[in-house]
């Protein structure tokens, strides 16, 4: 039963990793941009949540109503004001600019909030669990996170394939120049993609803060998990990203059970093995 429990925990953590990864996957799909500051933006959202929760005294889940729109707006502004200028045939500018941004965000958080470990108080939700069978209980909060991950991915899937905005996303992704000829404003479309990406990041950041303690230095680690989930799942496939998150989560928790203290290492090793065996991921979609 211990092992079943570990696998279930791993799957549920995988939902959180999928939320980390979805935003990364989305902007890569639309504009071939890899945002190195992605992990730090997740942690920035956790701290935004913290500031609101401690400042106003509301529950973190309600604080989402403020953090998500804030990060959405920040994403739009960031893309329009900075990142749009880095896009082009050369991969160095976006890479190095987001790398610089990552260092700036990390150190700004360090300056404002200090290096202390923080946690978002989740109240009764923290410990609530559902007993499935004798000796096997599943936390309510991890299940909420997992359900949110599925809902977000289903929502994005709908947005991409059933709406006019989705067509615009796919058109700019396929051929940005032709899309412009058809009257699509690339700068606006890219900014909207980044805005949606950061709205998901906001959700992931607040959930992260409710689940574990966080400090300004953990951003890069979250970026790496997100990246691994994207690559395992296959570039461009959102459901693949969920599968990637789950594989990573299960590898970490089962690995940590087999070799205590080596949970992170186990996740990385499984990722590297999959990269060698299936370099294009499990459900590849994009050609790039």
């Amino acid at each position: 039963m211990d092992w079943v429990n570990a696998v279930i925990q791993g799957v549920l953590v995988g939902g959180l990793y999928a939320l980390f990864a979805t935003g990364l996957s989305l902007i890569f799909g639309v504009m071939r941009l890899v945002n190195i500051a992605h992990g730090d933006l997740i942690v920035l959202s956790s701290f935004l949540g913290l500031a609101i929760v401690t400042g106003v005294g509301m529950h973190p889940l309600i604080a989402l109503l403020i953090v998500v729109p804030l990060m959405f707006a920040f994403g739009y502004a960031l893309q329009r004001g900075l990142l749009n200028f880095t896009l082009g045939p050369d991969i160095l500018p976006p890479l190095l600019v987001t790398f610089g941004l990552s260092i700036v965000i990390q150190n700004a958080l360090l300056e404002i909030f200090s290096a202390d470990s923080q946690k978002l108080p989740a109240g009764a939700l923290q410990t609530a669990s559902l007993q499935i069978v004798e000796g096997l209980a599943v936390g309510v909060f991890p299940m909420i996170v997992f359900a949110c991950a599925i809902a977000v991915i289903a929502g994005l899937q709908f947005l991409f394939y059933r709406t006019a905005l989705g067509s615009a996303f796919r058109a700019t992704s396929d051929d940005a120049d032709t899309a412009r000829l058809m009257g699509i404003d690339n700068r606006h479309i890219f900014a909207l993609a980044m805005a949606i990406s950061l709205a998901v990041v906001a959700l992931a950041g607040v959930f992260l803060g409710m689940r574990t303690s966080f400090d300004p230095s953990i951003g890069p680690g979250r970026l790496i998990y997100a990246f691994e989930a994207v690559i395992i799942g296959g570039l461009g496939s959102l459901w693949g990203t969920l599968a990637g998150g789950i594989i990573l989560g299960v590898s970490q928790i089962v690995g940590g059970k087999l070799f205590p203290g080596a949970d992170q290492l186990a996740g990385h090793v499984v990722f590297l093995i999959l990269l060698v065996v299936r370099p294009r991921g499990l459900f590849p979609r994009a050609v790039d």
Partner: protein
């Protein structure tokens, strides 16, 4: 045939000859530190030298081979740990352990490359970072090497370098200056060789270079392993100076890769002079701003962002374009027999 005889191909220019003299003066200035400076100055110069050497290696990867690695800390750490393993476990003389650390880093670089080369562009960057994390977490698991808290070089090994403290510092200093000069020289030599032509071709167009007979994979692998090996040597030297190693510091992204990236971007990526200018600027900024703590890193990050957006060729790129400066001429230029360069300039 008679037509071609009127031309000659040359790489050197007048400014490159002047530049060479300026650089020689700089090297002499650094190398004579023991005569004019004290212990602190010597330490600073060694640090300057290994940052310059690390920057040359990262520039070779990112600026010439298109391999933007965010995981070079892997090889600094591997080199550092190799020094400890060779000198403590195998009883190798620490100075012999430095080149062996370079060999060890190269041996680790080959399987690493086979994994990360499956990723392209920015994904390659994060892939190298993951492998560096794997090395960091793995070394933290080895209790014989002190696990997560690390270990120190035993006094016997330290004494084996040289008898007295000042002699040891002189040895580390000499190797440091030599590494900085050698790594700059190696990059220069490489770029003027056939490999350099291949690298430039790959940088400009992977598809075209492959179709013209450049083996992209082999060229990139060679450059990656070479850079890893020299980075490993530098790592061993760094920890021969520090005496103490721990996984988090040895495989630190900020110390061994982020600073180095900022140095190259600020100085000028894809130019040999870039890392030199960048390292000088980096040390000047650090001298004035290091007391600001996290503000220092924020400013450094912002400067790099602004340079990447406004002047992607870096400080040296701006100067070179303005004054036609080429201290390290790797471009081949065509001249008429009577000495006039064809066309303008």
């Amino acid at each position: 045939m008679a037509e071609t005889a009127q031309y000659r191909v040359a790489t050197a220019t007048r400014t490159s000859r002047i530049g060479l003299l300026v650089l020689l003066a700089g090297v002499v200035f650094l190398a004579t530190t023991p005569f004019w400076g004290g212990r602190a100055e010597m330490r600073l110069v060694v640090e300057f030298c290994y940052f310059l050497a690390l920057a040359q290696m990262w520039n070779l990867l990112a600026g010439y081979a298109g391999l933007v690695s965010v995981g070079q800390q892997a090889f600094v750490g591997l080199g550092g740990y190799a020094l400890f393993v060779f000198s403590i476990w195998l009883g190798v003389h620490p100075l012999l352990a430095l080149p062996l650390a370079g060999v060890a880093a190269a041996l680790f670089a080959i399987p690493t490359a086979l994994v990360v080369f499956r990723l392209r562009g920015a994904y390659f960057a994060i892939g190298t970072w993951v492998t560096a994390e794997v090395y960091r977490l793995s070394f933290a698991q080895v209790s014989e090497l002190g696990g997560g808290s690390g270990m120190s070089l035993p006094i016997g090994v330290i004494k084996a370098v040289a008898g007295s403290r000042s002699e040891r510092e002189l040895v580390v200093f000499a190797i440091g200056v030599a590494v900085a000069v050698a790594s700059t020289g190696i990059v220069y030599w490489l770029l003027r060789s056939r490999y350099g032509l291949g690298l430039t071709a790959i940088r400009d167009s992977e598809a075209a270079s492959e179709s013209l007979g450049v083996n992209n994979f082999r060229t990139k692998l060679f450059v990656y392993v070479l850079a890893a090996s020299i980075t490993g040597f530098i790592g061993a030297l760094i920890y021969l100076q520090k005496f103490r190693i721990a996984p988090d510091a040895a495989f630190s992204l900020i110390d061994w890769t982020a600073y180095v990236i900022f140095i190259v971007v600020i100085g000028g990526i894809g130019r040999i002079e870039g890392p030199i200018v960048g390292t000088i600027v980096f040390f000047i900024l650090r001298e004035f701003l290091a007391d600001l703590g996290s503000w220092y890193l924020m400013i450094l990050g912002l400067v790099a962002v602004v340079i990447m957006l406004r002047a992607p060729q870096g400080i040296w790129g701006l100067l070179a374009a303005r004054f036609d400066l080429h201290f390290f001429p790797v471009q081949r230029r065509l001249y008429l027999r009577d000495g006039r360069p064809p066309g303008s300039r």
